[in-house]
């Protein structure tokens, strides 16, 4: 599969925070989740990719096209093929939906008004409503309507499900699945709500402290790890090196392991379960390897 986005050696230093040598490649046809705790650098990476801030070094290639010089933003032709949703929408709250749409549509030669109207109907949004009167969920639905109405090929979403109720989150995830059905497309979205990614992600990128911890296929990652539950009395020097992120109570311990077979041999009575993305993320963020 052709890479839809290739990031190589992206670095940016701010007082008190740096993005350090971020490199990853996303093939088309994948939904990629960019995960990490608050302040890990997820939004900074997305903004650097979009050229909203000049990077100190590194290159960004979209759609296998020529990369602009370091720190420059993607060219107009590339930006026409992207759908962008920023954290919080990024709209002028005083504008009506129609006014903001007119402004956005002017930027895209391929704007599809019928598609836009269909999304408004789907989300029960009214054109004349002021953006500041929309709930957070409705603002995100509106942001997606704008991002999807020009036949974008690659969606970049910054925390699209943050602070939304489960019903609206489910609707947004459904929309992303529909977007991917046409093929040749991709989605990169940052989130700290990993349960959303359990449902739809194909690839995962974990960031921590401005560094990339891993990029891996979700299913392979989930297959490799197991959540272990057992009796605290079973924890001994032979077992502990096989475990990460151990939490212990009087009734039992929970941990994550990458070596379930060896652990099963040592602890035949322990319970091994398929982990969630959150289990694995916490394992890494607590220092696991």
């Amino acid at each position: 599969m052709e890479p839809i986005l290739e990031v190589c050696g992206l670095s940016k230093t701010y007082p008190g925070f740096s993005l350090k040598d971020i490199s990853f490649s996303l093939p088309e046809g994948c939904i990629t989740g960019l995960i990490g705790r608050n302040g890990a650098g997820k939004t900074t990476v997305l903004r650097a990719i979009l050229g909203l801030m000049p990077a100190d070094s590194g290159t960004v290639h979209f759609f296998n096209t020529e990369s602009p010089e370091t720190g420059a933003r993607p060219g107009r032709a590339v930006r026409e093929r992207l759908g962008i949703v920023l954290d919080g929408g990024g709209f002028y709250g005083d504008f009506s939906l129609e006014e903001m749409k007119n402004l956005t549509a002017a930027a895209y030669p391929s704007w599809d008004e019928d598609e836009y109207r269909r999304y408004l109907d789907r989300f029960s949004l009214r054109s004349r409503q002021k953006i500041r009167t929309l709930s957070k969920g409705m603002q995100m639905q509106y942001a997606l309507a704008l991002a999807l109405s020009h036949h974008a090929e690659f969606l970049i979403l910054d925390e699209p499900t943050s602070g939304l109720d489960p019903l609206i989150r489910a609707g947004i995830l459904e929309l992303l699945k529909e977007f991917m059905e046409n093929g040749g497309r991709g989605v990169l979205f940052s989130t700290h709500i990993t349960s959303d990614l359990d449902k739809i992600a194909d690839l995962l990128i974990l960031m921590d402290g401005g560094r990339l911890v891993f990029q891996e296929e979700k299913d392979l990652l989930l297959d490799r790890f197991r959540v272990v539950k057992g009796d605290p009395r079973d924890l001994n020097p032979a077992v502990e090196p096989l475990l990460g992120g151990i939490t212990q109570t009087a009734f039992g311990f929970t941990a994550v392991t990458k070596q379930p077979d060896r652990l099963r041999a040592l602890l035949p009575d322990c319970l091994l379960e398929r982990p969630s993305i959150e289990d694995i993320m916490l394992h890494y963020l607590k220092g696991g390897k």
């Binding site: 903004r47 992207l82 920023l86 954290d87 005083d94 007119n102 402004l103």
Partner: protein
């Protein structure tokens, strides 16, 4: 595309634009009542300068209120150059509207028609100088830091106003009065265009490097 960006500035400052246009309508007749001998020139100059600067300031205030909106527009296929130029063109549009309103008023109140063609052109040069300095500084330092400039302007305006009312001399400074009016007008237009082109190029250069994170 540029048209939509200028429209965006108008929409952002919609209420203020209407208020300033009302000032442009009401101020010259008010001066005609208070100080008939200076009403024409003063009414036009003050209403035009105040309208342009206040509308521009209000747009900047709104942009500061919604900082992510500028980031979103830059992520869309808008060029940063167009985003900057729209601010300059918006200011010129407000100035032209002030000229138009004053032109209509001179038809309704012939006593106001003391202003020749060279006055709006010369005033345009003055406004170009103000914008030419202010906008690049604002793009560099941000709205909050450049607000001081406006605070000084607002505080000084009553003094400028009363000094202007007391002014009995000619409108043009001595050296300019000896230049042929046509040459003066053409020179002002060319100088204004030069100042605005230079200033907008500088603003674009600053904004191209701006960190919108």
């Amino acid at each position: 595309m540029l048209f939509q960006l200028i429209k965006k500035e108008v929409l952002l400052a919609k209420s203020y634009v209407l208020l300033m246009l009302a000032v442009c309508v009401a101020f010259p007749p008010f001066l005609l009542w208070r100080s008939p001998e200076q009403a024409g020139i003063l009414g036009f100059v003050l209403s035009a300068v105040i309208s342009v600067l206040m509308c521009l300031q209000y747009v900047s205030l709104k942009e500061t209120q919604y900082p992510k909106a500028a980031a979103l527009l830059c992520a869309l296929p808008f060029s940063r150059r167009d985003l900057v130029l729209s601010k300059y063109l918006f200011s010129i549009l407000i100035y032209l509207a002030s000229c138009l309103i004053f032109g209509v008023e001179t038809l309704l109140f012939p006593q106001l028609a003391t202003v020749g063609l060279e006055t709006p052109v010369l005033l345009f040069f003055v406004i170009s100088l103000l914008l030419g300095v202010y906008l690049p500084v604002q793009y560099k330092l941000g709205y909050e830091k450049t607000r001081l400039f406006f605070a000084v302007f607002i505080m000084a305006s009553p003094f400028i106003f009363s000094w202007s009312l007391a002014w009995k001399g000619p409108f043009l400074p001595e050296p300019l009065r000896h230049i042929h009016p046509l040459l003066l007008t053409a020179g002002s237009v060319a100088a204004s265009a030069f100042v605005l082109a230079l200033s907008s190029a500088l603003s674009v250069r600053i904004y191209q490097q701006a960190d919108l994170s």
